[in-house]
């Protein structure tokens, strides 16, 4: 801080500086929960109106709500929690954001500096506990450095491969009696942190050469394309080339699902055609995906055996981590894709139409398998897939859809059909049950007039249902569609397939709450749907109640499995297609 600015700067306490810095960073909303170590900060919040604070009912929900806000908007989510249990409760949410590269700023209170290390009340080593699941972390040493730390935290969280950053703030640094001049820096030079700005032109030319010579090309894109705002460029490139494209669970919406070039999601529960095309392709362009084991099916040596692999990623550490990249391109995905488009257009070249047609004919034959056809109901019960399809229809396919983790998550991914990026909000990497509801809270705050739906299961929902109270306080008209199969469905499916149907601790039908009454007790609307015949009418009713939170408890067929499903240890072409059919 320079001498001249000091003279003009306003004198603020550390707590006031923190909130002022958030304002100067453009933050409009933060999610948090107060406690002893952050009381000075909460008092600073009380005295201003620039930054709105949302009181959640559990710190984990604060992180997921901020995460949902970040995924829906592309802006960083901000969380404020107290020390000790407040901080540890936030850990699952931080890990969730870290695994999916979501920009979060987590501000945790800490005991006074002089007490740190003495096992004082509500003390925990937050910087230490969060270290493996953050992009970076800071502990404030004094009030003066708080603006600088905030500036650095936002810069680190939102650039390069994005991720959560923790700022741990000892209580004494926010003392209202200690004031210092407030200056928010425009820029912070950091010699140890830089991000790639462009892809290497030589690598891009090589990649284009390879793509144009491909006989059986495949495009595979992941969450990085959404986070890196590359969906538009990806769509243009795919259309320019006329190549088939698949999206990962995290990448859904980066390419319109309704487009004929889209083969559906790939991987463990991917479509038959997407997985077959992956296995037999000769050139694979991976954009912003990381060859996760849920895609490569645990044995990377069997992955795309004939393919030359092109990999675009902003994080060099993602390249050749699991699968060796023949042509790696490190750079921001949107800029690299734009450069590839420019290179193709400059050459006035395209792929050989006849060769490509032979490939598409093959893909069309795979498509005839219709791997996502919904099985006939044999027991008169609602099929969960039906519910998701109807949801798509009733929301015009344009809702913000969050999910929890399990069968319902896969059904949502397979059947909703996302045409736009940032509409699908789910915990793909960490697989956090309890994520969906608070994430829907974040999305609803980001877009108050949009439809924010949480597709959940009764197991996941019970993990963060306290947010019913938050939704009442802020009058959030979220729609919760619970595919209630009275069991931990995905666990049960694995037990069916691999453990001889021994349902060890995956069923609890006799102890479930009455979800309708539960929702009503918080002041919301509850609807139960038990028969296929009433599905349309009651689901329509749910979406017609624009101003109310509606919890829809849909009793679905408890024996339904998610298919296709990758055969463990196999290649991508090895799938179980139904209870009776395998590839």
């Amino acid at each position: 801080m320079t001498g001249e600015t000091t003279e003009q700067a306003e004198l603020l306490s550390g707590g006031e500086m923190l909130i002022r810095a958030l304002r100067d960073e453009g933050v409009e909303i933060i999610f948090g929960y107060p406690g002893g170590a952050v009381l000075h900060i909460y008092d600073a919040i009380f005295h201003q109106e620039d930054v709105e604070h949302i009181l959640v009912r559990h710190e984990q929900a604060a992180t997921h709500a901020a995460d949902g806000y970040a995924r829906a908007t592309g802006k960083p989510g901000v969380v404020l929690v107290t020390s000790g249990p407040g901080a540890t409760n936030a850990i699952t949410g931080i890990a969730t954001a870290y695994m999916d590269s979501v920009p979060l700023i987590v501000i945790s209170g800490q005991v006074e500096s002089r007490m740190v290390g003495t096992d004082s009340f509500q003390e925990t080593d937050m910087v230490g506990i969060s270290r493996p699941i953050v992009k970076h972390s800071f502990m404030a040493r004094n009030a003066e450095e708080i603006p600088t730390l905030v500036k650095k935290a936002f810069h680190i969280a939102t650039t390069g491969r994005q991720g959560p950053v923790v700022i741990d703030i000892p209580k004494d640094t926010t003392d209202p009696r200690v004031k210092a001049p407030y200056v928010y820096p425009d820029e912070i030079p950091m010699r140890s942190y830089s991000v790639p700005e462009k892809g290497h032109p030589g690598q891009i030319r090589k990649a284009v050469d390879t793509l144009l010579q491909a006989r059986r090309p495949m495009l595979y894109s992941g969450g990085g394309v959404i986070q890196g705002e590359g969906a538009e460029a990806l769509t243009r490139l795919a259309r320019l080339l006329g190549f088939p494209i698949t999206n990962t669970l995290m990448g859904l919406g980066a390419y319109p699902a309704s487009d004929p070039q889209f083969l559906g999601m790939l991987g463990m529960h991917g479509t038959y055609e997407a997985n077959m095309a992956m296995h037999y392709c000769d050139v694979l362009l991976c954009a912003g995906a990381r060859f996760d084991d849920r895609v490569t099916n645990s044995d990377p040596s069997k992955f795309c055996p004939d393919a030359t692999i092109l990999h675009i990623d902003i994080d060099p550490a993602s390249i050749s981590k699991i699968v060796n990249a023949d042509i790696p391109i490190v750079g921001p995905v949107a800029s690299v894709l734009e450069d590839m488009i420019a290179e193709i257009e400059r050459r006035k070249a395209g792929p050989d139409a006849e060769t490509l047609k032979i490939w598409w004919d093959q893909i069309d034959r795979w498509r005839e398998k219709d791997s996502l056809r919904i099985p006939e109901s044999e027991n008169g019960l609602i099929k969960p897939q039906q519910v998701v399809k109807l949801m798509h229809e009733l929301t015009g396919g344009d809702a913000f859809v969050s999910s929890d983790v399990g069968q319902h998550q896969m059904f949502a991914a397979q059947y909703y059909g996302f045409d736009k990026p940032r509409r699908w909000i789910n915990s793909g990497g960490l697989g956090t049950m309890g994520f969906g509801f608070p994430a829907a809270v974040g999305a609803q705050f980001a877009f108050p007039d949009a439809v924010s739906v949480c597709i959940t299961g009764e197991g996941s929902f019970l993990m963060n249902m306290q947010e019913f109270a938050t939704c009442m306080q802020y009058q959030l008209p979220i729609k919760i569609i619970c595919l209630n199969n009275q069991a931990l469905g995905m666990v049960k499916q694995w037990q069916d397939m691999q453990y001889g149907g021994r349902y060890s601790h995956s069923t609890y039908a006799e102890s479930l709450p009455d979800f309708v009454k539960l929702a009503e007790s918080f002041g919301h609307v509850g609807i139960r749907i038990e028969r296929p015949g009433e599905l349309r009418e009651k689901l329509s009713e749910c979406f017609s109640l624009k101003d109310r939170l509606v919890f829809v408890d849909v009793l679905v067929d408890p024996d339904e499995h998610v298919y296709p499903m990758a055969i463990k240890g196999g290649a991508m072409k090895d799938m179980v297609l139904s209870k009776t059919e395998r590839t």
Partner: protein, 163 residues
């Protein structure tokens, strides 16, 4: 294959734990590690020994570079380099053994830095193999205590690790 990786990093609290944490998190080995501030007090230089094939070392260095506190790093084993380790060793030596120990110390170009009537404290610098060699050469004596610093190193020629 054994690798020596030297890292320049911000001399900030927590930087070391981030580097060490990375190795345990990602299941990489650290055989030895040495760290101290450089001539520029804002920077620390950390040198560690790990092992792995080229693919693994590529991952290790990429992940190290991802750590915000890491400014720059070099795999010294990728080129001609000089490596040194310092060892302080306390030996029990009485009677005829005393002259024998002094002879071995001289051969290995070590220095006796402290003594009592029944012991010698010896300082020895060199490659890890040389230090191992010394320990083998005095294996008839009772070793009371050994303190080794771990390997540090520098590239040969004009190549430097600096900002």
């Amino acid at each position: 294959m054994r690798r020596i990786i030297s890292i320049l990093m911000e001399n900030e609290p927590g930087a070391l734990s981030r580097v060490v944490g990375l190795f345990s998190q990602r299941n990489y080995n650290i055989d030895s590690l040495t760290v101290a501030p450089t001539e520029d007090q804002s920077l620390s230089r950390l040198t560690l020994i790990t092992d792995g094939d080229d693919a693994r070392i590529e991952q290790v260095t990429k992940h190290l570079n991802r750590i915000v506190d890491v400014v720059k790093l070099i795999d010294l084993t990728g080129g001609a380099h000089i490596e040194r380790e310092l060892m302080l060793i306390k030996l029990k030596a009485t009677g005829a053994q005393r002259a024998e120990v002094l002879r071995v110390v001289e051969i290995f170009r070590g220095q006796v830095i402290d003594q009592t009537g029944t012991s010698y404290s010896i300082q020895l610098a060199g490659t890890s193999e040389k230090l191992d060699g010394f320990l083998a050469a005095v294996s008839d004596c009772k070793v009371l205590e050994v303190a080794r610093t771990g390997v540090t190193g520098i590239s040969r020629g004009t190549k430097v690790l600096a900002i």
